[in-house]
Amino acid sequence: MRMVVWEIRMPIALMAVTVGACLSLAGAQMQTILANPLASPFTLGISAAASFGAALAMVLGVALVPAALALMVPINAFAMAMLASLLIFGLSTMRGVTVETIVLLGIALVFTVNALLALLQYFASEQALAAVVFWTMGSLTKETWTKVAVTALILVVVTPIFARRAWALTAIRPGEARAVAMGVPVRRLRLETLILVSALAAVPVSFVGTIGFIGIVGPHIARLLLGEDQRFSLPGSILSGALSLSATSVLSKANLPGAVLPIGIIAALVGVPVFAILIFTNGRRSW
């Protein structure tokens, strides 16, 4: 009993909390710096790249970073996710690249990586195919304390950095020209944030697969309830993400006795109605 709680259930529960927090925070800052309510780590292809990395391991057995075989899938996923963000990052440092260009490049990357993923799936064995499909749905089933610790660590490292830049990040929202006028180094802030967000998203995604919904909706829930002063919306996004994914994790187990539905599916099915209610009942207009 003790074993079940501490070695199986507890890591899963805590993983839901930390992953939700990371993805929501990543989404919040991505929406802030890209001035786009649809932005999330998934818009920029970070998640798609992670799926592709994972599939490389599962289908072809290719390890991008020579490491212990047990960790091949998450390490591959992480490597591809970071590669994708570095590519976006590199392109966005080029002259004349605007926020819109970054979003378009991200979408182009999503399509490219998805095509590569489809290609892999086409040639995959039935068993590998099932594994890939399951992975891309996102699941919280085989979690360990190590994964919890790594995910929590990245959150603990990144959050204070954002907290120190709270005023500057808030200032970007009413418009870039205004932020520049207030003395915010917008370009530098955007690049720094992009790096931090990439790490923040790549780590949880490489452990649990694609749980797309939290990254978009978590920050919107926080913003609708608390406004856009980052002193409130920053902790708010972390909490709303953690809470949403926790609740979803519980629901995904409670539905069918003995079976655990992939959490990515439940997150979208349950989250969308809640989100819609918030949009229609709340007076704050942010976009």
Binding site: W167, A171, P174, G175, M182, W287
Partner: protein, 258 residues
């Protein structure tokens, strides 16, 4: 007192040079200075160069203030964040001071600027709900709340009704007088310029074509070259100079300097 002077300043976007060698006499603080010129004459570009947002050779000489004491208010753009008016002004103040906590004197500064511009009643309104004129006043509050020693404003009276145009110019004039700050305003209404601004800088085609005391600068010949209109500068019944426009000059292509 604060002074600002441009010495052979170049301004460019990438490789495209807008200003080659822009120079002005010394602009003294304590009163208002106007920046005038037709559409696309280069007013905003000059502001952005002075504010350090554009690169280029030459020197922007500032005496009596740090470069960080400069605030540039760009032309009005939409603001759609889920922030209240109050929050958005706090935001402008906090960019310099930092820290999550709000001090009493900081709250005072925000209250004072909001009531000074008579928008205290808008404090709790969201930015997205504001009219163009209200947004303009919020922008002015954001610009002045840090009490900058050099203020550059792009069309601060653009969206305002007559009462508020007058109020804002009066507020800015008092601000300059109180703080000794250099305040340069890009304005279109030359009558406003003649009433409110001691000095005027005229630009056309990426050149500073005149800079000096307002009435010496805004002569009919200069107005004709700048805007392509025949105008008279006369004295009203109370002795103030005012401009009367007679007609548009035919075949004037945006600027007599082309």
């Amino acid at each position: 007192m604060v002074t600002l002077q441009l010495r052979k300043v170049e301004a460019r976007y990438g490789r495209r040079i807008i200003y080659a060698e822009a120079s002005t006499p010394e602009i003294a603080g304590g009163h208002l200075t106007a920046l005038v010129g037709a559409n696309a004459a280069g007013k905003s570009t000059l502001f952005r160069r002075i504010a350090g947002q554009l690169a280029g050779k030459g020197e922007v000489c500032i005496a009596g203030a740090e470069p960080g004491d400069l605030r540039y208010m760009p032309q009005d753009t939409g603001m759609s964040a889920a922030l209240t008016v109050y929050e958005s002004v706090v935001l402008a103040l906090k960019q310099r001071q930092g820290g999550w906590r709000m001090g009493a004197e900081e709250l005072d500064a925000v209250d004072k600027i909001l009531s000074g511009l008579k928008i205290g009643a808008l404090s709790d309104r969201h930015l997205a709900e504001l009219s163009g004129g209200q947004r303009q006043l919020v922008s002015i509050a954001q610009t002045l709340v840090t009490r900058p020693r050099i203020v550059l404003m792009d069309e601060p009276t653009a969206a305002l009704d007559l009462y508020r145009q007058y109020e804002v110019l009066e507020h800015l004039r008092a601000y300059a007088a109180d703080t000794g700050a250099v305040v340069i305003l890009a304005l279109y209404d030359l009558n406003q310029v003649m009433r409110a601004c001691t000095m005027t800088i005229a630009v056309a085609e990426g050149r500073i074509v005149a800079a000096g005391p307002t009435l010496e600068t805004l002569r009919p010949e200069m107005i004709r070259k700048l805007y392509g209109i025949e105008a008279r500068v006369e004295t009203c019944s109370r002795g103030c100079p005012m401009m009367v426009v007679d007609r548009a000059v035919e075949d004037h292509e945006m600027s007599g300097y082309r």
